[in-house]
Symmetry: C2
Subunit: 201 residues, 2 copies
C-alpha cells in the first residue's frame, strides 16, 4: 500500500454505496492503494443539489428496484431489499465515526458488516439498537456503542465530516477521489481501475 | 441483424446521450441487433421526476464538466463544450422525427451528425437555421427542413413520442431497452454488452 490513498465517500442508505463497498477494497489492493472510508449524511448534500432519494422519485424509484438487484447479480454479491428505504443512517454513521478514532480497520469492518446486513440481508439499520446488534459479532460492546451514539462530540464530528465532503464537491454515493480526481457512482469503478492502471488518461 | 431491436432513447442536449451515441451502433452490430433511435424532450420527463439539467445543478454541474471530457477521452471521441447548455433541442428532435418517416437510416445519420456538431465540435443547435446548416452536408434540403420544423403534425409526433417514452419509464438520457430490460446511462453500456453476450444474467 504505497501509492496515495483512495477516498471512498458513501451513505449507508445508498444501495450504490453498498455495491461499491463490495468492490473498493479489492480495487485498491490490486493497485497498492489504501482506501479511506468516509460515511456521510447524503441528505445534507441533497439540500445543495435539490435531489431527492431515488427510491422516492417517480420513475427512478421503479428503475432502481430493477437496476440494483441486477447490478448485484452481475457483481455476485447478495441483495435483499430492506424494509425501510431510505433508512435513517445516523446511528450507523455515528458508530463508524466513533470507532475510527481508535481503530480504523475495525471501523471499516463495521461499515462492511452494516452494509451487508442492510442491503445484503435486508435488515433495517435505523435504530441505535439495530446497529448495536449488527456490531456485536465484531466484539463491539453494546453499551459503549449506545453511549457513543448519544455523545454530542460524535454527532458534531459526523456533521463536520459531511460538511467537509460537500465542500470537496461530494453530492452522491458512492463518491470516490483518486489522485484528486472525482468519480461519482458505482458505475465508475471500471474507470477508476483504468485510471489507476494507466496513471490518468 | 436478426435479434430483437435495441431501443435507444436520447436527448440531444444530453452529453451522456452523445457519448452513448458514439458506441451504440457498434454495440448493436457486434450482437446482430438493430438499434432504433428515439430522440425525446427530456424536460418533459424532468417534470415527472423533479430533476433539473445537471449543468444547472450546484456541485453536479462542476462534476459534469470534469466527468464528460474525461469519459470522452476514454472512449476516444471528440468533445468540446457547447456555448449554450442545455441547448434547446426542439429543432434537432423535430428534424429527426420528420426524416425518419421516409428514411430511418438518414434520420440516424442526421442524429449522429447533430450530436457530433454539438458535443464534438461545440456548436449550438438551438435555432432551426443551425440545424439546417448541420443537416445540409447530408443532402437534406434546407427549405424543406425548415418547413417541417414548423409543421404542427411534426411537433405533435415528437410530443407523442416523448409521452410514450415517459410512459415506458424513460426519465434520463441515454435510456436503452434491450429485450424489455431498461438501462439508464452511458455507464451502462458495458452491462448491456454483458447482457447481450450472456442472454441476461
Amino acid at each position: 500500500m504505497t501509492g496515495p490513498k483512495i477516498d471512498f465517500y458513501f451513505e449507508f442508505a445508498s444501495p450504490y454505496g453498498y455495491l461499491a463497498s463490495t468492490q473498493i477494497e479489492d480495487l485498491g489492493a490490486r493497485h497498492g492503494r489504501e482506501v479511506v472510508w468516509h460515511p456521510i449524511m447524503l441528505g445534507a448534500a441533497f439540500k445543495e443539489t435539490g435531489a431527492r432519494p431515488l427510491m422516492q422519485t417517480p420513475l427512478k424509484g421503479s428503475y432502481l428496484r430493477r437496476d440494483v438487484p441486477r447490478f448485484a447479480r452481475l457483481l455476485g454479491v447478495p441483495f435483499r431489499e430492506p424494509p425501510v428505504m431510505p433508512a435513517n443512517s445516523l446511528a450507523a454513521s455515528r458508530a463508524f465515526v466513533w470507532l475510527e478514532t481508535d481503530d480504523r480497520q475495525l471501523a471499516k469492518r463495521l461499515a462492511q458488516t452494516i452494509f451487508h446486513a442492510h442491503w445484503g440481508a435486508g435488515r433495517d439499520i435505523g435504530a441505535p439498537e439495530q446497529v448495536a446488534e449488527i456490531a456485536a459479532p465484531l466484539g463491539i460492546e453494546r453499551s459503549a456503542l449506545l453511549a457513543a451514539l448519544a455523545d454530542p462530540s460524535i454527532k458534531d464530528r459526523l456533521k463536520q465530516a459531511t460538511a467537509a465532503a460537500i465542500e470537496r464537491g461530494v453530492f452522491g454515493s458512492p463518491f470516490i477521489f483518486v489522485d484528486g480526481e472525482p468519480f461519482w457512482g458505482a458505475d465508475r469503478l471500471a474507470q477508476i481501475d483504468a485510471w489507476l492502471t494507466r496513471g490518468s488518461w
